[in-house]
Amino acid sequence: MEEAKKEHFRRTLRDIKNLPTLPGMVTKLTAMAEDPDTTTEQMGKVISKDHILAAKLLRLVNSAFYGFPQRISSLNNAIILLGFNVIKSLIISASIFEIMEDQDVELWEHSLGCAVVCSVVAKRLGISDPEEISTAGLIHDIGKVAIKMELPEEYELINKMVLEEKVSRFAAERQILGLDHAEVGKWLAKKWNLPNKLIEPISCHHDPRLAKEEQLSSAVVHFGNIVIRGMGYGHGDDKWVPPMSQRAFRLLEISAVDIDEILDEIEDKLWDVKGFSLEIQSEQQAAASENNCNGK
């Protein structure tokens, strides 16, 4: 992509305020918000399963106007600081995917799955705030959503190239756009004033050697991405498990036995995620058929 076009893209990207969420999510959260017995904690649990809403919350709490720019890197803490009413407002203002495609659900599942792996690995490593890393794992592919929304034609070309020429999505993006979704994710994260603890893992999840201060977090997200792709849960990319950085793997100090135990834990937690995914998708089908009945 020539510099001018790249710069234009970068500038347009800054205007994205409304990345769309899955309709089923919005339906569920709206219902929860209207129920007077719902607690902030319950809302938080559901929001922590959506990469788009999580990104929005983080952006909001880190905006200069709230008072602690670049400070909040964990979703749970963002929720504590924003409070129920603001979260409710956020849900009301959430825009939804006009046309829901399979790929959107697959990316959602992949993001959620990655967050789960990151959480498991971070806890095993004894990291003091594992939730920060799982937050990064949840939103690591936010760049993909942006590319799809802002450059739909190029997005189609990328899909086509992956399918026909059997190259990785990463390679196709670089070929067609001159940049990749990790870089776009980095731009967004920076624009949204997110702390470096989140920016680096997002930016380096394919190549963690690029990480400077957040080497461990980046290694975890890199690993999380690979494992969840290996398990075949969710999609949003090409068919192949991406290569793993040796250095990152060494940082994690994971043995063969660890892998077995980690897989056990992940599988267990994924059931919860799968159940939730089913729930969200059926909420959406229910809403869609209601719309059809109302002659929408």
């Binding site: 690979i226 494992v227 792709r229 290996g230 398990m231 075949g232 068919k239 192949w240 498990v241 991406p242 290569p243 793993m244 040796q246 793997f249 994971i254 063969a256 892998i259 077995d260 897989l263 599988e267 059931w271 919860d272 799968k274 159940g275 089913l278 729930e279």
Partner: protein, 102 residues
């Protein structure tokens, strides 16, 4: 045997494995026949999935074991030179087989 989500469990299905709580207490023994009422109780206890006998839940997208193993093999095709990932692949394949054991 089939592992299914609690939301998919229904009347008449028979548990192929004990259902345990998070602490390891057996909530419902292997061989129990499920009823709508029992399923509700299990849901309230935050059970996410159960193993039932036979193959009562039909999923059009479900693959055969052979297909699933082939998929896994394909997925890892480009990282055969990375030993930890080869190990990961092996383990994932083993689990796929184990999940369908009768």
């Amino acid at each position: 045997m089939q592992q299914i989500l609690i939301a998919q469990a229904g009347d008449g299905m028979i548990l192929a494995r004990d259902v345990e709580s998070e602490e390891g207490r057996v909530l419902c023994g292997k061989g129990t026949e499920l009823s709508a009422c029992l399923v509700e109780r299990l849901k309230k206890m935050e059970v996410t999935h159960v193993a039932v006998e036979g193959h009562p839940v039909v999923d059009e997208n479900e693959k055969t074991l052979k297909e699933e193993l082939f998929d896994i093999e394909q997925r890892f095709k480009r990282v055969k030179h990375i030993p930890p990932l080869v190990h990961l692949k092996k383990r994932i394949m083993e689990r796929a087989v184990k999940a369908r054991e009768e």
